[in-house]
Subunit: 557 residues, 2 copies
């Protein structure tokens, strides 16, 4: 049933080959330039992308989907820009039926054709990367450069990474094998065996508000490449980036001769809870979700007919033991806190510092000096509002503001959060990070996630206790990132041992241009699947291998 | 933390290399000779193995495990032989604690060392394969040759296959990578990244009565190789084969310098339900189970902290449309029904035949003639009790006898089950297959599994209806095997399409020495994970990939 590959496979075969090497090497590689510079993308790309973005505003989004009965507009920009994009909205039954009908031809097209088409979708999205970046910026609240990188280039890299794993997994077995078993003096037994890659069913991707593309693309493309139609359920606050994605995906699918209903958008009206409706449909056999622990746990417990991949909350931790570059450490941690106002799932929250202070290249620093050093770095990065907002972006939603208010009662503020005026967007809600001092016994406070620009410096008895708190809190509540600062190899080894026990990725002594909240596609794994913050990693073999099954047939040769 | 590989890795590296090729080729290969002939295993092997088996009877099984408080003897041989083997029995807490304590050193030993040790365990088991075969025979009721093959050589092949997948998966990423990202005019960013393979936790293997080794080895060795300590919970009726396995595994582990508590036996007293107790322990992070749909579903629903791999019940189906070898077809199907008295999870149950009959090389055959042809083949194979029992073995437990009694009321018997006298074991319970004729509307009867020597010939309106019934029943209730007989390519294609939709492996026109109930390691996938009969396949990438996680650390180079 596998036909000759579609010409799009040959068109993108080199990219695939390079990506396959990259996932095997896990060294540096990127397929999509992360600099939005005109020298890379041309003089007109930025303006054209912005214009394309603006053309969507206050209009019906151009998407012709089955079952559309009305339109919904649910987005409110953190930058205070009026969006008013109206998305098709309608019947879940019609979406599920359309996706189901699209499956067989896509399944029977085989891995190579599917990869060719998926790679063409990525190429199409890359051609519209500025449009995508604007959409990410104005729905998530990310500053432009970050939206371009994380929401555009890096998201495409993660998508390509997922495609490479999916392809490697689908082709680790031959499509056909000749089996010949010796049978004593008689003729050998001979059989021809055909191994079909069979998708599980419909993939459901549930997007988040802060990283609508970066967190959705791996699941979307891993499911699609392995033969599953995909229904994309965006966060009501960040529909546009995924609507644009679905638009171009459908365009490419149709051009390639496939049913565009292989990728569908399920925008929802306020309070509709369409994700739960979809997640429980028997036809939905894969769910990818990024968001709250509560809802992720609900999906894992209830979407029992599906393979469920979740990324949830956690308590990212920094263990500060000592450093040979105090200024660099403070700058690096400070930058991590400022970036997107701490609204990354990878932002450090708990900074564990011995109450007696630490040894540094600048001599002994007391606990208060360490806290002040980090606060000072944050202060410096946010002193000039015009420069600051290009790092902080805007606050994604009111929940973050509520937590900022709530945290003030938990301990002494080492640094207060400030409201900043955004020079270009006067209605933008901008806040700088707060840092709160806590004792090691305040586990009820720091033992859970405070999503947003909220971090704690926690006074511990010793680095040994810091490591114990690290091990315990991450073991219980999970984390996506952890880092350690020490000039003592033994402490670094102990931190690495604790990280293995807690199942969290560890960064050591980051003092330069790499930050703990950043993970590089093709090299860093995002999340480990080994602690409660996520049950999977982006992206590895386990992330793709169960999105399809192998069904064989055999007959005598 | 990864040390130099243990010398056992080098000792078995060639075997591993060959197995890695085999899983990539899926052609014929076997590492362990399936013939129990003295020409292969030597003149004394059979007698020594039997003597070793007998030495266990009516004695304390030699296993020194933590937490042992008393002994249990729960086996009753289907051959009527007194077994009386007394296994260590004790506290679940002690087993879990011992396994947990054994984990870190095994994790830190790294993939190569673990593979070397696991391959040595297989070599040790192979050196005791006759002992193992006797244990399988006298607990499962399999005839000796089958016990030797399925319970010995083939089980070892499946174990090796699982080891190869586990190794491939653990080593698809390097242990270390240098990452160098260009940074404009400045120095590139350089980081050294270490990727640790981290086990999930304790693996629990829940064995079955009929294939105690074959069905348990893939999960046992996949978990162990990926760094997880394993607690083996045998079926109370088939403890000995797994006790022997645990004994030699512990022996090899200790010799290699590891904690023998990496592999533990959890024998249970009658009614203790120790599997459920273990499956819900938070330390248990992987469960492998073969058995009833009811209990498999319970595990999937309740052992939520674990990755659960289940093989459950199904309705294996044969679609008979036409044949160019009527005698061969009847002989082949008949043999499939006789083998181990239909007590294989792969034995055909529902044989769908058009009521109008079929075209064959012997001209048109009516429905009754087809049914009589299959019944005749069964009759011939079971006519001589002395020869028959070497195919049928004995009835594994009273549940099978109860179903044999129950099925008599469901339709007209084309063939009655007969009790046979076993020449060597007068107390053995031996039954030949029954075949019952049903109409296509009797779905309440044939729409569920009747485990044992029970099959139905079902009269359908047409092959089209047969395929529809095939698609529906397998889609709803699952199946491990399916086969089709047709001399029409279009029907074969339609059957293959139905098999893809239902997600079941299909065999076409088996008329010779290959039988639908047999699956060959390294070539055939056993179960698909794409229908309700199993949520995983033995063995593929998905079966191993989520038994461990990758935890990385990175620091500036």
């Amino acid at each position: 049933m596998t036909e000759t590959p579609h010409p799009l496979y040959a068109k993108h075969a080199d990219t695939l080959t390079r990506a396959l090497s990259a996932i095997a090497e896990r060294a540096y590689w990127s397929a999509y330039p992360e600099s939005p510079s005109p020298r890379v993308y041309g003089e007109t790309a930025a303006a054209e992308g912005e214009a394309a973005f603006r053309s969507y505003l206050d209009a019906d989004f151009p998407l012709d989907q089955p079952g559309t009965t009305d339109r919904v507009a649910t987005e409110r920009s953190p930058f205070g820009v009026e969006l008013g994009v109206r998305y098709p909205h309608g019947e879940v039954d019609a979406l599920v039926a359309a996706a189901t009908a699209a499956l067989p031809a896509w399944r029977d097209a085989g891995p190579q054709t599917r990869l060719g088409v998926c790679l063409e979708i990525l190429a199409r999205l890359h051609a519209h990367v500025f449009e995508l970046a604007n959409a990410v910026q104005f729905t998530s609240g990310q500053a432009f450069v970050m939206a371009f990188q994380a929401g555009g280039a890096h998201a495409l890299d993660r998508a390509l990474e997922a495609l490479a794993y999916a392809y490697a997994e689908m082709t680790r077995h031959p499509a056909r094998a000749e089996w010949e078993k010796p049978a004593g003096k008689g003729d050998p037994l001979r059989m021809t065996k055909t191994f079909h890659v069979v998708p599980r069913g419909i993939g459901l991707v549930i997007g988040c508000n802060t990283f609508p593309t970066w967190n959705s693309y791996p699941g979307l493309f891993a499911s699609l490449a392995t033969g599953n139609p995909v229904i994309v359920k965006p966060h009501p606050g960040a529909v546009l980036p995924l609507a644009i994605t679905v638009r171009y995906a459908r365009e490419v699918l149709a051009e390639a001769g496939f049913d565009p209903n292989l990728v569908l958008l399920a925008a929802e009206a306020p309070g509709e809870r369409i994700a739960s409706t979809l997640a429980l449909r028997p036809e939905v056999r894969i769910v990818d979700f990024t968001g709250s622990t509560e809802y992720g746990d609900w999906l894992e417990a209830n979407a029992r007919q599906a393979a469920v991949y979740t990324e949830k909350a956690g308590v990212n931790t920094v263990v500060v033991d000592s450093t040979s570059d105090f200024a660099g450490m403070c700058r690096n941690i400070g930058f991590s806190l400022v970036l997107y106002s701490g609204q990354m799932c990878t932002t450090p929250q708990n900074i564990l510092v011995p109450a007696d202070g630490i040894e540094t290249d600048q001599g002994h620093k007391s606990f208060d000096e360490v806290a002040a050093g980090i606060a000072g770095a944050v202060g410096k990065l946010t002193a000039d509002p015009a420069r600051a907002v290009e790092l902080t972006g805007a606050i994604v939603n009111d929940g973050v503001l509520a937590r900022l208010a709530e945290v003030t009662g938990t301990g002494e503020a080492v640094l207060e959060s400030r409201a900043l005026e955004h020079p270009a967007h006067p209605d933008a809600v901008v806040r700088t990070p707060t840092i709160v001092r806590l004792g090691a016994d305040a586990t009820t406070t720091y033992g859970r996630e405070w999503f947003g620009p909220i971090s704690f410096v926690i006074a511990t008895d010793s680095t040994e206790q810091s490591l114990e708190i690290f091990r315990t809190t991450v073991g219980e509540r999970g984390a996506l990132t952890a880092s350690v600062y020490s000039s003592d190899e033994k402490v670094l080894d102990a931190a690495e041992a604790a990280a293995l026990d807690a199942g969290v990725h560890l960064s050591c002594n980051l003092t330069g241009g790499v930050f703990v909240n950043q993970s590089a596609a093709f090299s860093d794994f995002h999340a480990s699947g080994a602690n409660p913050a996520a049950n999977a990693a982006l992206t590895d073999g386990a992330y793709v291998a169960n999105r399809f099954r192998i069904v064989q047939s055999r007959r005598h040769a």
